[in-house]
Symmetry: C2
Subunit: 200 residues, 2 copies
């Protein structure tokens, strides 16, 4: 049997999404086929609206629908703290923790020479521009890139440049996840958790 071309096209487009393989793409396509027209239209419209109205914050490169995002314009927050993250999703994860009230800087990636991603492909120049008006005595930059090889390399790279210009720099803590069993922790994590133990 030959698939109708509109179905082939839909399955191909859905299959380009991350985490959606050929089987899931087919399942999603059949699901959309069975939905009422109204709901399908809402989905397509939400995709187009989001693409049209969302952009990057001019200051921190977070996702926003205004010139500056709601974090950068919030005067209740501590403007002397900047937390550097790889992706907007990381920013949201930290916001959900409720433990941080400073600003952010979204790199939109991490250094990965193998994939052709150097400092110029990230928002690093913009970060250092922001830091020109930064108070060296009270300000601090927290490096919250991932604890992957690329994330670590990015953090090390930034740490060197930041200490060169005299800015207090810190790295988020390594250790056991809360609720985690020692038995199931990998050795590197467990080793870091012991090295970085805190006095009670």
């Amino acid at each position: 049997m030959k698939y109708p071309s509109a179905l082939i096209q839909l399955i191909r487009e859905l299959g380009k999404l991350p985490g959606v393989g050929p089987k899931s793409a087919q399942r999603l396509a059949f699901h959309l086929f069975n939905l009422p027209e109204e709901e399908v239209r809402e989905l397509a419209q939400a995709i187009l609206n989001a693409k049209n109205s969302l952009k990057q914050c001019k200051l921190c490169y977070n996702i926003t629908d205004t010139e500056l995002c709601s974090i950068c314009t919030d005067h209740q927050r501590n403007h002397e703290l900047i937390c550097v993250v790889e992706q907007p999703a990381d920013l949201l994860a930290i916001e959900r923790s409720g433990e941080y009230d400073g600003l952010y800087h979204v790199l939109h990636g991490s250094l990965s020479p193998m994939n052709g991603i150097g400092p110029d492909q990230l928002t690093i120049a913009a970060l250092f521009e922001r830091l020109q008006g930064f108070d060296q005595n009270t300000g601090e930059v927290i490096l919250a890139t991932a604890t992957t090889v690329e994330g670590e390399a990015t953090a090390m790279y930034l740490a060197r440049l930041l200490t060169d210009i005299g800015i207090t720099t810190s790295r988020i803590a390594y250790g056991l996840p809360v609720g985690g069993d020692l038995e199931y922790a990998d050795e590197v994590t467990l080793g870091r958790a012991i090295t970085n133990r805190r006095k009670l």
Copy 2:
């Protein structure tokens, strides 16, 4: 931080898809945000096109973009065999096996009184209408509904009605999946595989 409303709306719409939880919906939304505008437009367009141009075949209720699907209009196929399946995806799975050259009938579901799905919610009346011109001596209906409780109930229900009007009816075989280890087969499947053994 408050999410921009277009982002909230997109995450909500994506989260309605089957197999997409809140986390995946967020990941998909960020992915779409990072895509070039052209590709996002293609996805939205593919969704709308599929919804506008695809419909059910007037005869077998398969998905098609013409009045009758390419299987129903194929005169190379055996028009005296009708294979009854629950969903268009099941039809495609059988087509991929390459073992079947008859026609199909897609029920678009299975009997499930608990969920309010009776014979009238499926395409059963249309199946029996098709069968009015069917040759009782040479024709055969293969019941290929799922081997779940609902699929079995649907097959039993149809089998009773079909034998009542004198039409040869068969059920797809139960047994071990090809490449399957006996050790890992469940008891019911293994029992069926033994009961339904074939002489060599």
